[in-house]
Subunit: 253 residues, 2 copies
């Protein structure tokens, strides 16, 4: 019988099939052949072929000179209308620029989706520490600086759920004990700033602050990532906090 994922294949709606085609792409698979795509989507090739044809015509996919299929520009255009993307970016860009100019380090903006954070914008200097986050990527909330902020200010249910599932470990310093995490979160709420010290990679440290929407609830988190050794988070905190506040202010209008 089939391998794991291709099971319920007879019983999917037409839309689900089309969306499965899109889901076949991810950060490791940005270019696919038709049959690889069909395989990953759990669809017969002939079906995939038709759906891909529709998507190509629409601009949701494009075929490169090498014949491989990739995500298309038109899809990106409509996706760029997502409220927590464009709107936030526009509002955040100037302050992020300021912060970058002041620090010359990676400046990142992220929002929460479910139990994960999604990075929506990033300004990366050429001299900044290389980090493994990238725009469009998901991360668990428990490790990163932005994650701590977004978790600390998330609704109760979300916090409970996040704390009840086992915490993913990245480094020896990653916090995996729920009790310890809980007290860190309280600390974040009190100080309005989060520090993730080597919790995601051993050479990086990030300082994050909440960005608030018009009605005061936290809608995003801003962070700066710096080299871990020798860095002094205390000096960064005020800059990050004020930049985040500036973004909040421009969201308010």
């Amino acid at each position: 019988m089939g391998k794991g994922r291709a099971d319920a294949r007879g019983s999917r709606t037409a839309s689900a099939r089309l969306l499965a085609v899109l889901d076949a792409f991810d950060a490791e698979h940005r270019a696919l052949t038709l049959s690889a795509l069909a395989r990953r989507a759990g669809l017969p090739v002939s079906t995939a072929h038709r759906l891909v044809g529709d998507l190509l015509a629409w601009g949701g996919l494009e075929r490169g000179d090498d014949g491989l299929l990739r995500v298309g520009l038109h899809l990106w255009e409509v996706a760029a209308l997502a409220p927590r993307t464009i709107g936030l970016r526009e509002a955040a860009a100037p302050s992020m620029g300021d912060l970058y100019e002041a620090t010359h380090e990676n400046v990142q903006l992220a929002v929460r989706d479910g139990l994960e954070v999604v990075f929506v914008e990033r300004i990366a200097g050429r001299h900044a520490v290389p980090v493994l986050t990238r725009v469009g990527l998901r991360f668990p909330m428990s490790a990163t600086g932005v994650g701590l902020v977004l978790l600390a200010f998330a609704p109760r249910e979300v916090q409970e759920e996040a704390l009840s599932s086992p915490l993913e470990r990245f480094t020896e310093r990653t916090v995996v004990d729920p009790r310890q995490l809980r007290s860190m979160l309280a600390d974040v709420r009190r100080r309005g700033i989060a520090v993730s010290d080597r919790q995601v990679t051993m050479d990086a440290l990030s300082v994050a602050a909440p960005v608030r929407g018009p009605d005061g609830d936290v809608v995003a988190a801003l962070s700066v990532v710096v080299q871990a050794d020798g860095a002094e988070p205390r000096t960064l905190a005020p800059a990050v906090r004020t930049a985040a506040a500036a973004i909040s202010r421009s969201l308010a209008r």
Copy 2:
């Protein structure tokens, strides 16, 4: 040919219907009620209702607290995998940052799609001239700086087609005579730089240079937009050209 418009409603494939739902959103309509959406997509409400349901479940749309429908984060995630988005952005970010720091003006990156340019990235300072372009927006090629660059280096057929259709006018200085445009393009090719002087709005001027892919063909255009009066394009040109060259270089590896 045409990207989907709302047309003959009976004769559409299932996928086309789903994609029509997405196309109902644009820069002026980022949040829609179900019935408005149905109207714009040219679909019966009940059909739209089902499709929207599928998209909500998948994360392609989300329903705000106000009950309105908006483009969802998950759609944006997969769209972020588009090659001419993420890849370019990553490569371009540092140089764009440098250019911004040197000028403190709007720095923009655009690619060509069909007969139009699409802006894929922009760094906007708080002191920069307000411009009407925005990330994710389309523009005709004939007016903007980036458009001139992308048109000048586009394949013959594209140039012919662009020159044969009537050119859109934005200001009194917009070039609408094909002969004149043709000579401007030759000039752009010769000098490796394009200047759009008040051709899109009367207060702005942009200077653009080509970004080349690994095999030497022009894949994008980089531009700086400045206040039109008093600006001296000649001083900007070298900076833009070198930044664009730096991006080309980092694409080559």
